[in-house]
């Protein structure tokens, strides 16, 4: 019922503010279940008739090829790693995220600037430098952070995967000679970074160990709240 109310209010004529559109972000370490959850959100919103755009970390066509080449050759330093990912993000931001938000879309982002803040800082980049790089990016309306014990996430990733990739395992940090051990330490540090942002960045923490359906309900409830208040704002503009 609430859905219907929200649905009626879509009106392209009122695109006149930078704050139009809704930006929803999922964050969390690999294996936290965030991609599954955002996929279900995507399906849900589309089925309700919303204009939805989904964007993923490290997926810009122009940049990804270079990044993956650099990764394969293990040629990237923390700084170039960080810069290439931020180039990738900027490309998606300038091409898609920003204009689509202006057009009133709901943009769903699987990983956003917080991934860079967490990972690059763990790799040894200066935090305020990384923060500056992404300072132009709009703050999300909702950021869901999927919290899981490291062992849970790690075992989800490792099972069914014979080998971890060099950078994925954080091998460039020299934490351990053993890939899996390195991966665990690396992910642990990323979790610490995420946790340090929970309050300041208004993360909505979702317990990633709960049933998928239960998590999805919590996520949807939060999204509905934002959709409703967004609607009210639009009414005021009209």
């Amino acid at each position: 019922m609430i859905f219907l109310q929200v649905l009626k209010k879509k009106n392209a004529n009122s695109v006149n503010s930078n704050e139009f559109g809704i930006l929803i972000v999922v964050e969390g370490i690999d294996g936290s279940g965030k991609s599954t959850q955002i996929h279900l959100v995507d399906r849900w919103l589309r089925s309700k008739g919303y204009d939805v755009f989904f964007t993923e970390w490290n997926s810009s066509e122009t940049v990804r090829e270079i990044t993956s080449k650099g990764k394969k050759k293990a040629r990237l330093t923390p700084t170039t790693f960080s810069l290439l990912h931020s180039t990738d993000f900027a490309d998606r931001y300038e091409k898609n995220i920003y204009p689509l938000l202006r057009a009133g879309y709901i943009v769903l982002a699987d990983r956003y600037i917080y991934t860079a803040l967490a990972r690059d800082t763990v790799r040894g980049c200066d935090k305020s430098w990384v923060r500056n790089m992404y300072s132009y990016a709009r703050k999300p309306d909702l950021t869901f952070y999927f919290r899981v014990p490291i062992e849970t996430a790690v075992s989800r990733i490792i099972s069914g995967r014979p080998k971890l990739k060099h950078y994925e395992a954080g091998m460039d940090l020299g934490l351990s000679k053993d890939e899996y051990e390195s991966y665990r330490i690396f992910q642990g540090r990323i979790v610490d970074e995420y946790e340090s942002m929970v309050n300041d960045e208004n993360f909505i923490v979702i317990d990633g160990t709960l049933d998928i359906e239960k998590q999805q309900n919590m996520v949807r409830r939060n999204i509905l709240k934002v959709l409703k208040s967004n609607d009210r704002n639009q009414d005021a503009l009209r």
Binding site: T62, V63, E65, I66, K69, G70, K73, R75, T77, P78, T79, T80, L83, L84, S86, T87, A90, D91, Y93, E94, K95, G124, C125, D126, S128, W129, N132, M133, S135, Y136
Partner: protein
Amino acid sequence: MTSRIPSTRNGSSVSQVKHEQNNKKIKFIRDPGIKYLKDIEINGSFIVIEGPDASGRSTQIQKITQKLEADGHAVVNTGLKRSDLISKGIIEAKRNYVGRRTMALYYAADFADQLENRIIPALKAGFVVISDRYIYTLIARSSVRGINKNWLHQLHSFAIKPDLIFYLDVDPHNLIHRVFKKNKTLDYYESGADLGISDDIFDSFIKYQYLLKREFNTMQKKYGLLNVNGDNNIDDIYDEIQSKISNFLNITKKTETII
């Protein structure tokens, strides 16, 4: 000359001042720079030549390199868009009309790759590194295109501080003739045609070059750029640059001979 012998570094006969001159800690444009490289020691010298296209940068670099090598200094040349990993991506991105911020970051990535894989290793090994353009060009270009200045300065703050930065300052009207002598045609981006400041490419070039010039002038104090009158003839410019480089290297050399 001879390479430094580590044991003399801490020798009691060497005064503190000389000691510091010989083992220069890496210095970044702004702290903390690249945090994981902060303990690196630099033994070489770092010279940057800035200036617009056709300002005579490459001619000067060629002459300086010849002279330095004749004097026994090992030289490494570097510049923008030269990373074998990333430069291809930039060319591709230009073709695809990538956004301005994306472009700025792409260039910064390309530069970072050169900095960490070429410039810093060469400086560690005691080379004289000459860079054909540096972050100042990157900042000026993006700034003229409306990207926030503070953002740009901070983005490039991981760069290392050059020992000498020469800026070949050429009057845009003079410059355009040199461009025609060199290429017979105006480059799209070097004319700022993407800025849409004029439908006339000649006007666009002049206006764009004035805008860049203004950016360089505002950076001069902040970064210690040495202004060189690029309207002078090649030999005069060379004499001016060369004497400053010689002076600088002599200071470093003296301490080396004492050791």
